[in-house]
């Protein structure tokens, strides 16, 4: 029998899902913290995840699932009344295997559940990610920039890599400091200043790429492709590209 983990705080939605999915074994959680206990279990075949939960954002939680290699791979269907195209795309880009808008009907829900179960989780199948001249290897946790037909390792720290991977999976999508705290530091304390420091260090290492992390007030940090950086010329390169030192970088 299929085991479905439902993460949804609305009792009426829970009741509907219990009725519609009565042929499956259901584990119902009201919050992300409650659901965390089941994530490392091998019994869960599918997760149905609401976005607006009392203790956090389902999207941030989904991002965390993608990054954490200790969590078994299972498919995730997001259900939400926030059904604008942007939200749906964000969910799918964050690793959701499908998105179901509320209100949903029984036949649609069951068809999508069966479809997702048949094909299994998609989100962990991507081992390499290339954006612009940046190449990430998710398995090796390395980030390299392609310059002069050679790859240069950016020597990211583990947390810098995780931050960058998250940003790369959500190009142009902003993450506030609170979002980042929930994704990467949910069980430890970190100050906003320390988060800013990590971002600042990461930005410095991205200087050779055609990407940048922008901080926009009221939105947060987001990664974007910076067109003018694609025409960068560096005056101090030798045959082997090296990370810039204290010399000025000229942008064209």
């Amino acid at each position: 029998m299929t085991t479905i983990l439902i993460i949804e705080d609305n009792v009426e939605v829970q009741l509907l899902l219990k009725k519609y999915l009565e042929n499956s074994r259901l584990i119902v959680c009201y919050s992300l913290s409650e659901a965390s206990a089941y994530l490392s279990s091998d019994d869960v075949d599918l997760v149905i995840l609401d976005l607006l939960l009392p203790d956090g954002n389902g999207l941030s939680f989904l991002s965390k699932l993608c990054i954490d290699k200790n969590i078994p791979k299972f498919p995730v269907i997001v259900i939400s009344a926030k059904n604008d195209i942007e939200s749906q795309i964000s969910c799918l880009n964050s690793g959701a295997d499908d998105f179901i808008s509320k209100p949903f009907n029984k036949e649609d829900l069951i068809a999508r559940v069966n479809s997702v179960l048949r094909r299994g989780p998609l989100r962990h199948s991507l081992e390499k990610l290339t954006i612009g001249n940046l190449a990430l290897n998710v398995v090796q946790q390395t980030a390299k920039v392609l310059l002069n037909n050679k790859y240069l390792d950016l020597s990211l720290t583990p947390i810098e890599f995780k931050l960058l991977l998250n940003f790369c999976n959500h190009i142009d999508m902003a993450f506030s400091r609170q979002d980042l705290k929930e994704i990467f530091w949910s069980e430890t304390y970190i100050s906003s200043r320390n988060i800013d420091t990590h971002i600042c260090n990461l930005r410095k290492k991205l200087v050779l790429t055609n990407l940048d992390i922008i901080n926009k007030r009221t939105r947060g940090y987001y990664l974007t492709i910076v067109p003018h950086k694609q025409k960068m010329e560096f005056t101090y390169f030798s045959e082997e590209p090296q990370l810039p030192t204290s010399k000025t970088i000229n942008y064209t």
Binding site: E12, L16, L52, K102, P103
Partner: protein, 93 residues
């Protein structure tokens, strides 16, 4: 038929629970409206919008959608008007 549109028998059996929950919600809505707490109101209407159709009450879903939009726009007049419509609708059950 208890609901506005036909639904599964097991769901129809929950219709009293659904309607009673909405009547309780009205109390919260009015309290939030007095305090002009549009964020909390928006959450309530957002939730109601997502569940009304499956429970067999599309009218409640439509009203919740209009109320949610009114919250986003901070349109007190529209909020009051549609809240009264919702109360009228619920009074029939």
């Amino acid at each position: 038929m208890k609901t506005e549109i036909p639904v599964q028998r097991e769901i129809e059996a929950l219709s009293d629970f659904f309607i009673n929950s909405r009547k309780k919600d009205i109390v919260s809505m009015e309290a939030y409206l007095i305090k002009e707490n549009y964020d909390e109101l928006e959450k309530i209407f957002h939730n109601i919008k997502g569940i009304s159709m499956p429970y067999g009450y599309p009218t409640i879903g439509d009203l919740a959608k209009a109320l949610e939009e009114a919250c986003v726009k901070r349109d007190r007049e529209s909020l009051t008007r549609n809240l009264n419509k919702l109360k009228d609708f619920l009074s029939k059950y």
